[in-house]
């Protein structure tokens, strides 16, 4: 796909985020919108996957370590054809396969159950280690939040991945600068992020605009070519990207749009497309 085509897909994914969280009357639209371009690029351009065969052995793996951005992952998977887009309206409803945080046993295309922050990256490292050990060809991608990396387990996992030179692992930090209680600086910043991952023996790529497909394309290409070390892509993103009143607003971390806000958000996103 061209960058423009990918951009259009990401816009559809954003609509899915709004539809899902609006229907759920809860959930996390801000981070999901901010990471929509990253997940779109991964599922529509980067990863070796087949929506018709979600468990195929050699598929690339994606672990949403920041599991609260499930609305974004679900919208991406639905857009990619893993399940009907109508399912997004069942998000967080009793009996739905779309749980508040991802469950690999419920949702086609979800490679690991996540939600408790800091744990997903460990599973991703385990997947990458397994591939190295048994000679599997797949690559593993893990998406983390810049608030999530305050969890100590993230650095336990990073230490192991760096020491084991897992170059089939690509960690992406969604660096939008906001967490629930405020900006990451106000709360307990893990800055400088790039230097930290370098210190943990990662090849680090800094993406100035993580909502730009061309920049994401270049970064993932570089990650793929990197040998002898895992890659960490630190992506500067805009939380709430694409919906004017949600952009860079802490308050939209974990709040659903009401009917009026839903209409406005959908109108803005429809203008984009």
């Amino acid at each position: 796909m061209t960058d423009d085509q990918l951009k259009k897909v990401a816009n559809e994914v954003r609509k899915g985020v709004i539809i899902g969280t609006h229907a759920a009357k809860s959930g996390h639209p801000g981070g999901s919108l901010g990471a929509a371009d990253i997940m779109t690029y991964l599922y529509f351009e980067e990863m070796n996957i087949d929506p018709a065969d979600p468990h195929k052995a050699d598929r690339d793996r994606f672990v949403l370590s920041k599991g609260h951005c499930a609305p974004g992952l679900y919208a991406t998977l639905a857009e990619r054809g893993y399940f009907p887009k109508e399912d997004l309206e069942t998000l967080r409803h009793i009996g739905s396969h779309l749980q508040g945080h991802p469950n690999m046993n419920d949702t086609p295309g979800v490679d690991m159950s996540t939600g408790s922050l800091g744990q997903g990256i460990s599973a991703a490292v385990g997947m990458a280690l397994a591939a190295k050990h048994w000679g599997d060809t797949y690559r593993t991608y893990a998406l983390l939040g810049d608030g999530e990396i305050e969890e100590g387990q993230v650095w336990e996992a990073a230490m192991f991945a760096g020491n084991h030179q897992l170059d089939n692992l690509c960690v992406i930090v969604d660096h939008n600068g906001l967490q629930i209680d405020g900006t990451i600086e106000e709360v307990n910043s893990a800055m400088p992020i790039a230097d930290k991952f370098r210190a943990f023996k990662f090849h680090v790529i800094e993406v100035a605009d993580g909502n730009d497909m061309a920049q994401l394309r270049a970064a993932f290409a570089e990650a793929r070519e990197t040998t002898g070390a895992p890659t960490c892509i630190v992506c500067e993103t805009v939380k709430g990207k694409g919906v004017s009143f949600m952009e860079n607003q802490v308050g939209w971390h974990g709040k659903a749009p009401n009917d009026e806000e839903f209409e406005q958000a959908m109108a803005e996103l429809s203008k984009e497309a």
């Binding site: 690999m104 744990q119 460990s122 599973a123 397994a130 050990h133 387990q153 996992a157």
Partner: protein, 313 residues
Amino acid sequence: MADVKKIATRQSYGEALVELGAEHDDFVVFDADLAAATQTGKFKAAYPDRFFDAGIAESNMMGLAAGVATTGRVAFASTFAMFAAGRAFEQVRNSIGYPHLNVKVGATHAGISVGEDGATHQCNEDIALMRTIPGMTVIVPADDVEARACVRAAYEYEGPVYMRFGRLATPVINDRPDYSFEIGKGIVMREGADVTIVACGLMVAAALEAAEKLAADGIDAEVIDMHTIKPIDAETIIASARKTGKVVTAEEHSVIGGLGSAVCDVLAESCPVPVKKVGVQDVYGESGPAVDLLKKYGLDADGVEAAVRELLA
């Protein structure tokens, strides 16, 4: 039972892994810088490329094991019970239990028989913690023979398993040709009519010893080796309780939430009878030689015998 052969179940664990490794190459073993103590060092020596040291990072180790298990292989994750069930509880619950992954947690140095290291390392809460996780199988083997069988059964079983092993060398009581191990199936070690003693881990040998002493006084105790705490063998417990009408539970674990509680859950619903729980009485342990500690905290044949006499009095 001074002349009985004694082996620590952690040693059985390490050796069983080596045996399993000779037969299967679809599993790996993780440890967290305790390979010599947990005895996974034996596996490391035999199959260095199939052993991974997570370092002193138990939470990450559980996640690594989960990640491996998502690929359809099996991962053993080993450390002390304190760190496996305690520190990494939430990782075991959310990254292993919730997705029901094929991770086998080999937890050694459980209970007060850790000895000199003292209270920080004496985990008397792990059975309680692990049995609350939906879908988790919890096994506490009684001796070397059972520990080896449990490792093999855990490997073959589909789903997460928590195995509890001890540091202290304990009597081998199941070395007989007709021994067979089945997850979730307790073993009646001694038949009796007056009282039922349901035990696990090193307390099974203590219960058998107590039963011999009680027999000298004409008290006929039935002893059940309840190696699987979850799923608990309700059928065997109820059948025995119906026969004897009195139950003593014995475990090297807190009396809160462990084997005793699991047995009470069964009896309260299906066969209410008086129960006396032998275990750690809601206190922390302390430093000291393991055998002396077991005696001090009533976790030996004398402790079980006293509990039975109290219940029958």
